[in-house]
């Protein structure tokens, strides 16, 4: 499974402060820590309060690329902010994200194709958060159709079923897990799947446990990627072990170390 480190996000106070002060070292340390902990890709989000998000995106990408060569997931609601990053990435990037609205798809799918990036497609639209697996599938189908129209390879598409906090939308858990299974049947080559994991435990008292359990269940449903906290070692170990049990990796006594090689 692709582990996308979520920690470089201006929404977090320390990161927001570092961005404001243009403290390159602080950002670079987070990047290095995430990679050392086993992240395969780093999410880069300027945060909601950046005064000039395009500039911030450029600065973040440059700063991170100075110290690590991991691919980046450029995370913004604004297409022009994402494009600023796409222009300078050294590795195949990921766009985080489009939703299922045509207005967004018409911009971001061609952009993903142009820059040879992969693309996260949130299975939601202006009409709101999906209520069940059927609405998710409907949005997913719309995204897939758009990709096919544009000639964007659907194996570079990561569909996101929209993970909701378990304390406010308990009935959604099973809908989300089933969607992960069903998305893959939409087209050939199959789209991949991704979740924003930490949302599952928002405002609960047992965040790590809920995240961990959620991730393992999603992996069992065939999840391809998760945006998550790679510094949560128990979470990383659980993911590695889940893939082992699914026979996706080969067992050896040091399998937890093997994962980091």
């Amino acid at each position: 499974m692709l582990v996308i480190g979520e920690l470089i996000n201006g929404m977090y106070k320390a990161v927001g402060t570092a961005i404001e002060a243009r403290d390159k070292g602080a950002i670079q340390k987070i990047a290095r820590d995430e990679i050392a902990a086993g992240a395969n890709m780093l999410d880069v989000n300027t945060g909601p309060y950046a005064k000039d998000p395009k500039d911030v995106m450029k600065w973040l990408v440059e700063s991170i690329q100075e110290v690590c060569d991991a691919p980046l997931a450029l995370d913004s609601t604004k297409a022009d902010v994402i494009e600023e990053g796409l222009k300078i990435v050294k590795k195949k990037a990921m766009i985080n994200s489009t939703n299922a609205d045509n207005a967004k798809l018409d911009v971001l799918v061609p952009m993903a194709k142009k820059y040879n990036a992969s693309l996260i497609g949130l299975t939601m639209a202006k009409t709101g958060i999906p209520r069940d697996r059927h609405e998710r599938m409907e949005h997913a189908a719309n995204i897939v159709t758009k990709c096919q129209e544009v000639g964007f390879n659907t194996s570079d598409l990561y569909l996101d079923p929209i993970v909701l906090p378990v304390n406010v939308a308990q009935s959604q858990g099973i809908e989300i897990l089933e969607s992960i299974r069903e998305f893959k049947l939409l087209c050939d080559p199959s789209p991949k799947t991704v979740v924003g994991l930490s949302n599952a435990s928002q405002s609960t008292k047992q965040r790590p446990l809920i995240n961990r359990t959620y991730l393992i269940m999603a992996i069992a449903c065939g999840l391809s990627a998760a945006i998550m906290d790679p510094l949560d070692q128990d979470l990383m170990h659980a993911a590695v072990t889940a893939e082992l049990i699914l026979n996706k990796t080969i067992y050896c006594d040091s399998f937890l170390d093997a994962h980091k090689k």
Partner: protein, 322 residues
């Protein structure tokens, strides 16, 4: 109709054996193996930049369990390892020599580490191909013998073996200090193969210099199982498992000539046909099978089998088309 093609994210490590003068050694040639980004010989799906290579085996004592058919081509040279090595290179055109220090085993000669070291030095002088150097398989003795052999061949970038899950530290330290590559051995067990590689790499030894010996069985002696282990390891590597991304070495000669079908005389088993070709066929078949499973280095014995398998490799590599 479109042909479905598999593409892989991983790549097998490239391992170079032998150091020329330019690299601080005294070899006149080098052998590089590995580098595949596809299953064997599927040139349309990925790259196989280096052809598999055959190493001819030389023992430091006269072989006791070799049948006449196998001894015959070497003649007197079997009693003189240096002469034997020279014969392999000059007469049988070997590009890689594998010296097995079998005679250091406490039960089979018990030669000293000093004698072995001298032999390695003599062979390095007499032949200029890269060398593979193996112990006798006795762990305690190997730790003394191979340390010394490593030392006297320092800078020649040999391939030394075998390190095992239970006995890897001394050999790894030697190979690290003297700039050699290492063979990691496991008993036809993919989990132990992976573990051995990790243990060796955790001593600071680069994964890129490990050659994997998964151990094989000859035709009729577990070859299918060995094949499946190699295939599984290779697929894992191509899918990105760095801990199994080493090239494979296969002891084809040793395993094939252990089979009674290869060794038995025509008098013992008239129904099995001519003994002079039977063993050669056995060794050739075993070699061809492991090539299909991804073998990068074949350690072989009979010159006729070596010749035949080399023709086979050359033929397959013609499809490389670059």
């Amino acid at each position: 109709m479109d042909v479905l093609k598999e593409t892989w994210a991983g790549k097998i490590n490239e391992v170079t054996i032998g150091a020329t003068e330019k690299d601080g050694g005294t070899r006149t040639s080098q052998i590089t193996v590995g580098g595949e980004t596809t299953l064997p010989f599927l040139f349309k799906e990925g790259a196989m930049p280096h052809a598999p290579v055959i190493a001819m085996e030389v023992l430091d004592i006269e072989p006791v369990d070799w049948p006449e058919t196998l001894k015959k081509p070497f003649g007197d040279a079997l009693r003189d390892p240096v002469k034997w090595a020279v014969k392999c290179v000059e007469e049988f055109k070997a590009r890689l020599i594998c010296v097995k220090l079998a005679g250091t085993h406490p039960d089979f000669g018990n030669k000293s580490a000093e004698d072995s070291a001298k032999l390695i030095k003599d062979i390095l002088k007499a032949v200029k191909t890269p060398l593979i150097i193996l112990g006798s398989g006795d762990e305690t003795k190997d730790n003394i013998v191979l340390a010394k052999a490593s030392e006297v061949s320092k800078g020649e970038r040999c391939l030394l073996g075998d390190a095992t899950e239970k006995n890897y530290k001394t050999l790894t330290a030697s190979c690290l200090a003297d700039g050699h590559n290492i063979i990691a051995e496991s008993p036809i067990d993919i989990n132990i193969a992976k573990q051995a590689n990790i243990l060796i790499s955790e001593m600071g030894f680069p994964m890129e210099r490990i050659v994997i010996n998964t151990t094989i069985g000859a035709l009729g002696y577990g070859m299918e199982y060995a094949y499946s282990i190699m295939e599984r390891a290779r697929i894992a590597a191509l899918l990105g498992d760095k801990t199994l991304s080493g090239p494979f070495v296969c002891f084809v000669g040793q395993e094939a000539w252990r089979a009674k079908e290869a060794k038995a005389t025509s008098t013992e088993h008239p129904e099995w046909g001519d003994e002079t070709s039977r063993g050669i066929i056995w060794e050739t078949d075993t070699a061809v099978s492991v090539l299909m499973a991804g073998a990068d280095i074949l350690i072989m014995r009979h010159p006729k089998a070596v010749e035949g398998v080399q023709v086979y490799i050359d033929d397959l590599m013609k499809n490389k088309g670059d």
